[in-house]
Amino acid sequence: MPGEINHPAEPADSLNMLDSTITAAVAARPAIDSGSTAWMLTSSALVLLMIPGLALFYGGMVRRKNILTTMMQSFVAMAVIGVQWVTIGYSIAFGQSHGGLFGWSWDMVGLQGIGPERMYADKAIPELVFVMFQGKFAIITPALISGAVAERMKFSSYLWFILLWATFIYCPLAHWVWASDGWLFKLGVLDFAGGTVVHIAAGISALVLALMLGKRRDYPDGAILPNNLTLTLTGAGLLWFGWFGFNAGSAVAVEFPVAGATAGLAFATTQTAAATAALAWMLLEWRHTGKPTSLGLASGIVAGLVAITPAAGHVRPLAAMAIGAVASVVCYWAVRMKHRSGLDDSLDAFGVHGVGGIWGALATGLFCFIPVAGLLTGGGFTQLGKQTIGVLVTIGFTSIGTFVIAKLLDMTLGLRVTEQQERDGLDISVHGERGYHL
């Protein structure tokens, strides 16, 4: 508006316009809740920190010749989806609903119609803050998939894959589950912070992509050992830290002010589930193989965090403990099964995010006490049934969608690097760099 005040040609008109603008703004402006806004800004930054965390978590587990390409697969999602989300992603996920199937509002394209003063729904936080918060979820979800394709997927195909996947799978699915007109939301499927949208979607897609891509040439017979598990542990720590924003920030969907009771509950259940799952995985492995490994502890942390994600604001801390403990048991089992099946889900994106996500989504129907009661809290089978529908729909949609996208890319660009590139390592052959000159 200052531009209009200084416009010399039509001073009277400009002043009138300014006056009416101010009047309208004062009348229509909902109070901004600074506490809620501050927490959502913080949460958004916390969720973004999970992506470097994921890069370290995955990067430490591959061979030294592939650490940069693996870390880049996470980092580059910040670049690609960071642009996609602002351009069209937010509009597809949270725009005007079309039959509950996808959103689209022209004024959300490029965020051009979302001024800094526009509030998100009735939450008294700027909509731009909500856009950013949700955008971080859109970034990390495709990056999770990269764990299944490590050390062999073509970088250019990966870029196209995450762009198409975010646009045609993630954004519509987020609309179904989280938009107020989304069909799964209306059905009553509970997904507090992304058990279906994020973890089942990424985990199932990881499984499909790993199957289509095939094994690494040295798997399972060659010695594929991690280059640096200290990075993996550091990454797990950052993931845990960032996850508080992921889960406690997701209270934005259900309460006002946002940094309130539900955020506190989600924070507590997140902490409890992660701790229990870490303990459970370590003890289970110790008993089973004789060694309490650091990677086991780190995997337990992630499994617990994944499983509590859909349930975080719906269950009590003791239930979170059960969810975390069982998550480690089922994920540990899934990872063991993988070795026998010969599936090369290299860094266990399916085994942890897929399996843990499914368990968490179902467990929400077992243990939830707000806003409805679950099977074990006196609510009968209703919510568990809805959760099951949510899980099955997500599995069906994401597996078919991923198959179609990957098939198209396979027929055009090809999914895999050449045999020689794979042997040399992708760092030097694809990126022209080495991670270590030690």
Binding site: L225, T289, L295, Y332, H339
Partner: protein
């Protein structure tokens, strides 16, 4: 002149250096070159766990020391290494000592050759 190459357990390096110092030092410090090497003899690598899978590394990490000595020091050097590098009872993996003839030796700074240069 002989060249002594010994492959030892990495954790015995300090003890071996101390023993060699005692045996070889003529008041001007003694000479040694140390490298980290991978390989295997009868001993194979440790079992490692990765994602619950047991992986036995074929190679074991060892320390290799190289010492060039004049003839009167050959036996003291061997005895020093032997004493310091062997675990209490003597175990597979304690390492090995190779002794080989050394044709010549040149000190780069002065151009001195042979036993004086060692």
């Amino acid at each position: 002149m002989k060249l002594i190459i010994a492959i030892i357990r990495p954790e015995r390096l300090d003890a071996v250096q101390a023993a060699l110092q005692a045996a070889l030092d003529e008041g001007d410090n003694y000479r040694i070159t140390v490298q980290t090497v991978d390989g295997h003899g009868r001993q194979t690598g440790e079992i490692e766990y990765f994602r619950g899978q047991q992986v036995r590394q074929r190679m074991v990490q060892k320390t290799q020391i190289t010492v060039g000595v004049n003839d009167q020091y050959v036996e003291p050097a061997i005895q020093a290494i032997l004493k310091a590098a062997r675990t209490s009872e003597g175990e597979i993996g304690d390492g090995k000592i190779f002794v080989m003839p050394l044709d010549d030796c040149v000190r780069i700074r002065t151009g001195e050759r042979g036993g004086k240069a060692i």
